[in-house]
C-alpha cells in the first residue's frame, strides 16, 4: 500500500533547478534507494518528501493527505512522530550525551524521562554503542556518532526513515554494520526507508532503486542512457 507519494514535484534554488517534475511512491515498509550522479537532486527530493522543503510546484502526500501545504508547525510535528531523518554526519546535539540525544525525540513526543532513557539505552545497545551512553559527541568517533544518530532516528519507530548518505562518512565495514542493522530493524518494525546513496553496494540493500538524473526520475531504471551534455569527463 502506498504511504508516501510525490506528484510532479518541481523545486529550484533561485535560478538553479534541482527537481524538474518528480513523481514516485513509497509503500509501507518498503526500502527504496535513491541514486544518481552528484547534483541530480537526491537530497532536495529527500527534503521535499520529509516535509523539510516545500516544492514550488507539485504535491507530496502522506497516507492520502497533502502535506506540502501544511504549516511549518504541522510538518515539524509529522517529522517528530511519523518520520525519522538521518544525515551523513549524524548531527547530534553537542551538549547532550549519546543517551540524551537518543532520548530527545521521545521526550519531545511526551514520553516520560525514565522510559525515554530506558528506550535510548536499548537502541544504543542495538547499534553496539551502549558504552558511550554517557559520553558527549565531541568525545566519540565518527562511527560511534553515526550509530547514535541512527539509533536516534529509529527510536520513535517512525513509519518512514529518510536517510541521506547515512554511511558516507564511515569505513566500509563500519558502514556495512550500521546499514545491516538499520535495514534489519526497519524491516522488523515495518519502517519504510528512503535511502539516498551514490554507492552501488549500499543501494543493493534496498528493495527498489530510483535513479535521478538532472532533477527527473530516469525511467530506464539505469540512468545515463543518453549522451551527457558536453560529454562530461
Amino acid at each position: 500500500m502506498t504511504q508516501l507519494q510525490a506528484r510532479g514535484v518541481v523545486r529550484a534554488y533561485g535560478p538553479t533547478p534541482a527537481l524538474r517534475g518528480v513523481t514516485l511512491e513509497v509503500a509501507e515498509g518498503e526500502i527504496v534507494a535513491v541514486t544518481g550522479p552528484s547534483g541530480c537532486g537526491k537530497s532536495t527530493l529527500l527534503h521535499c518528501l520529509a516535509g523539510i522543503l516545500r516544492p514550488d510546484v507539485g504535491e507530496v502526500t502522506w497516507r492520502g493527505h497533502r502535506i506540502d501545504t501544511w504549516s511549518e508547525a504541522a510538518r515539524s510535528r509529522l517529522r517528530r512522530t511519523e518520520f525519522g531523518v538521518l544525515f551523513q554526519f549524524g548531527q547530534l546535539v553537542a551538549e547532550l550525551t549519546a543517551a540524551e540525544n537518543v532520548a530527545l525525540p521521545l521526550l519531545l513526543a511526551g514520553t516520560g524521562r525514565r522510559e525515554a532513557r530506558t528506550a535510548a539505552l536499548t537502541w544504543l545497545e542495538r547499534f553496539g554503542v551502549a558504552e558511550v551512553a554517557d559520553v558527549r559527541p565531541g568525545e566519540m568517533s565518527g562511527g560511534q556518532q553515526q550509530r547514535c544518530a541512527t539509533a536516534r532516528a529509529l527510536v520513535t519507530e517512525p513509519r518512514v526513515l529518510f536517510a541521506d548518505e547515512p554511511t558516507g562518512a564511515l569505513d566500509t565495514l563500519t558502514g556495512e554494520q550500521v546499514l545491516t542493522q538499520l535495514v534489519r530493524l526497519a524491516r522488523e518494525q515495518r519502517t519504510a526507508v528512503v535511502l539516498v546513496t551514490h554507492e552501488p553496494r549500499i543501494a543493493a540493500y534496498a528493495d527498489r532503486e530510483i535513479v535521478l538524473r538532472d532533477g527527473l526520475v530516469d525511467h530506464t531504471g539505469l540512468g545515463l542512457d543518453v549522451p551527457l551534455a558536453g560529454g562530461a569527463r
Partner: protein
Amino acid sequence: MGGVSTPHVLLGLLAGGSRHGYELKRAHDERLPRARPLAFGQVYATLGRLERDGLVAAAGQDRVGGPDRTAYALTDQGRVTLDQWLSTVEAPMPYVASTLFAKVVVALLVADVDRARSYLIAQRAAHTARLRELTTVKGDPAATLSDVVAADFAIAHLDADLRWLHATLGRVADWHREVHP
C-alpha cells in the same frame, strides 16, 4: 576473476594431514564457498602432477583400486613450496585484463557509441542484479563468516566494476571521438 592456483590450494589443504582425493574436493568446496567447485578429475590430475614433482606422496591405499582409494600427504618439498607461495605478494593487476574493458574497446572499433553504450547498460544491469543477490546471501541469518567473507570479495569487485561502468558510460562518447578522430 580466475587465476587461483589450485595446486597450491590443494597443498594447503594437505598441510593438516593426509587426505583422499574426494576429501580434498569436499574440503576445497567448503573452505572456498562460492568458488567454482572443483571437478574430481581436476583433483586427481592435479594430485598426479604434484606427485610427479615430488610435492605430495601417496600415503597408503584403502584396499585396491583407482586413484580415489589413495590418500596423499605433503612432502617436505611440498611444505617449502606452499610456504613460498604464502609468502609471495601477488602482483596487483599487472595487466588490465578484463572482458568488460575489451568488449567496450571492440564495440567502439567495429561499431559505434550506441553499441558500446547498450553493452555497458546491459552489463550494468547484470552486475546490479548479481550485487543484490550476493547482498541477500550475506544478510541470511544462516550465513557463516566464510560465506560472508566470500560474498564480500565478489561484492567489492562488482562494486568497483559498477563504478567503472558508470564512469565509462559518461565518457564513451568522448572516447569514441578519440578512437575515430
